[in-house]
Subunit: 198 residues, 2 copies
């Protein structure tokens, strides 16, 4: 019984995640989610208080998944820190070149909620983006960059620009050139450290 | 009579621009635009074929306006190219800190149209973003950067990341640190030139 309840909840969330990502959050009605999940609207509201809760859960479910993908690309690459960061951007290039890719779900959702500044999904998106930036900072500290936090923010900003530009232009060159800029800035951070150490 | 016709058309477009920017394109109905413009839906469709045409015109109207703002901040600043680029980011910081700022209209519209890849508004957005990037490249060529096109793309990507991050975090530090990264990359382009020249 508990399992069946969990299954229904998962099914609703999966339906919401697919529809929100594929068509956008405003374009997706609660009716469409219930229909896709094969349940009634009443059952949906038994499991989730509101559409807003579903939007927030949709983003929450992507937080660690996206971060794990970045970490895997980084960890699987052997070599210097610059090679590893390049590998993250290469992974992003491959993912975003998939015909079903429709932008960064966090960026798109925040964009749709621009007139609802207090929406919990915006906080979830902000937290996710902070997690990505903080992960870069951790790795840069581990690799001995002297200005690891500033560099992490630069790389994060370049990644955000790459994701946004990929949706506008659908040209992976923007991602590779974003990686080039990231690597120049990381190398600069390493040179600064070298200069200080010597 | 021709003037009255033009006035009506302008009034419709202004109503559409305000509503699209303030609440989003999906959240804005043609009825709401007609009501705000103080006309009937029939009159609206006399001037514009479709909502899609209004969305495209909304973005088209912002293309040169945004670009002119960047150019003004750049031109009004006296000093080195790095000071001028800093001035552009400062201008963006001020604009985006306004309580009525709701993100980059181009980014948000493209995000909402992610499931309509052939939409003419996406082409308009892509063209605008190319115009911004190309303008940076022109200025960098004028100021003698050896890798002006690559640097223009880096600065453009940082600006996109700054705009996107500002909507997520509402923290102008992201814009100022984006400027820092841009200036490091420009300075690097200038050093490369110096090295080649000497």
């Amino acid at each position: 019984m508990a399992d069946a309840k969990k299954d229904t909840k998962t099914r609703i969330l999966n339906a919401a995640k697919t529809l929100f990502y594929m068509t956008g959050i405003r374009a997706t009605s609660v009716d469409a989610i219930a229909e896709k999940a094969g349940i009634t609207k009443r059952t949906l509201y038994y499991h989730f208080q509101s559409k807003d809760e579903l939007i927030t859960e949709y983003l929450r479910s992507r937080d660690q998944l996206n971060l794990q993908a970045y970490k895997k690309w980084f960890d699987d690459e052997e070599g210097e820190i610059t090679d590893k960061v390049r590998a993250v951007f290469n992974g992003v290039s491959e993912t975003t070149s998939h015909p079903k890719w429709r932008g960064c779900g966090f960026q798109r959702t925040v964009g749709e909620l621009a007139n609802k500044p207090g929406h919990p999904a915006i906080k979830t998106a902000s937290l996710h983006k902070k997690n990505v930036e903080e992960w870069f900072a951790e790795e840069f500290r581990r690799y001995g960059l002297i200005n690891s936090e500033a560099t992490a923010r630069y790389v994060f900003l370049l990644l955000e620009g790459a994701l946004s530009s990929m949706l506008v232009h659908h040209d992976p060159a923007y991602i590779h050139e974003s990686a080039n800029a990231a690597i120049l800035l990381i190398a600069q951070g390493m040179r600064v450290k070298g200069a200080t150490d010597s």
